[in-house]
Symmetry: C2
Subunit: 251 residues, 2 copies
């Protein structure tokens, strides 16, 4: 069984529709490669009670919890304080981080607001990265990352080697011009022969409006995914459709 992970996206800007979340798909893909199952994503507002409650529920339920957002210098950056509260510890100055920020900015720019970025929950380890002097941090099984995608990605790259890897999630995809209702019975039979795989059916339209479907087999055992993949290909052929392999081109 792969390790199980949960992502908490902290951000009013996602919930108001200001910003298209780009962090979920990045973390989802990287965890799939690392053989860790992303089982849940919560997108919640910048409100302390919601953050504390969600972090405590998730850290009890999952092997790994990742959060994005709310670790900058402004008043709406409340994640570190909420994580400290969730763990019942104090926020304290992390001297190495304080010194690094002071060195990078100089005393004049390193004002009280920016000094907040040097405060971590007691016992947290900084997650240093190439994209930012201000670090993310880990405490227990919770990894606290920036919201800005470029910085979040750099932090994820830095922490990834410390995670418990498993066999990567493998997927195989066939697509063709047919309604998914025509494939449904055959696909269900294949699913019943491969109960350990996820078989998914995703209708889509090509740029020219042609109704097509992508059938996807996903799992952690490459041989089984390949067997299911061949059965899916055969299912298309039996229905008179010559399928193409791989994801549809972006319309």
């Amino acid at each position: 069984m792969p390790a199980k992970a949960c992502l908490i996206v902290i951000g009013n800007e996602i919930l108001s529709g200001r910003t298209q979340d780009a962090n979920t798909i990045f973390i989802a893909r990287r965890l799939a490669e690392l053989g860790i199952a992303l089982e849940s994503v919560h997108i919640i507002p910048d409100r302390p009670a919601r953050i504390v409650e969600t972090v405590n529920l998730c850290r009890a339920a999952y092997d790994y919890v990742f959060t994005t957002g709310g670790i900058g210098p402004t008043h709406d950056d409340i994640t570190a304080g909420c994580i400290a509260e969730a763990f019942g510890v104090r926020l304290t100055v992390h001297q190495e981080t304080f010194d690094a920020l002071m060195h990078a900015m100089g005393a004049k720019k390193f004002n009280a607001a920016r000094q907040r970025m040097a405060f971590l929950p007691q016992g947290a380890q900084p997650i240093k990265c190439a994209a930012s002097v201000a670090p993310g941090f880990r405490i227990g099984n919770v990894y606290v990352l920036a919201g800005v995608p470029r910085i979040m990605q750099s932090m994820f790259d830095a922490l990834a080697p410390t995670l418990q890897k498993g066999p990567p999630l493998i997927s195989a995809t066939w697509r063709g011009r047919i309604g998914e209702g025509a494939l449904a019975a055959g696909l269900e039979k294949i699913q019943s022969r491969f109960p350990e795989l996820d078989l998914g059916s995703y209708p889509y339209e090509s740029a020219t409006g042609v109704h097509s479907v992508a059938l996807v087999a996903k799992g952690y055992a490459p041989d089984r995914v390949e067997e299911a993949s061949q059965e899916i290909r055969q299912l298309f052929l039996e229905l008179g459709v010559s399928p193409e392999e791989g994801e549809p081109p972006v319309a």
Copy 2:
């Protein structure tokens, strides 16, 4: 107080990183226009226990619950059955939907798999839309929509007039070339004078790599948003930056 809403995105394809979720930002924007506060998004796998549990938690906690995904004809389309289980009712054939699908497809194409799309939880009302003969449905405060964005959007358009509207969420944005740490103290003072608004600070980089920040004031009272907007503009000016109004151009 605006009505409170929650979105449940049902989809292994989002959690595996196969698909970029596009439904959250659409629903978030439409709810903001309708004056309904989106307070939570859950992205969960196609697993019955998770769907039933999440729906029951959310329908007790929010005025409106929207779900996307899992209402097609294939074995992985399990949302309707899970909603029925969450409400403690049976799935039953919805005759009007059955007849409409039969009429649209003809008896030969309307096989057992496609007939599943005519089964709704007992007491549910179909959400008919222009983009699909197979409807979404409403039961209690739960609105069950398709996962394919074009069809989901058509269903949302169809149901929107039935929601309890409020004053729309208004936002004002100023942006300029300055670090957010330099603005933080002033922004916090503005926030303290406008406790009913959400003031957010969002650093970004232009296409040429210039570090900039967008300050956003959001709320339901246009006069107050406008007052805060002018204070934000003044804050930039006091720091020697001539801000531009509006969201940054997409880099």
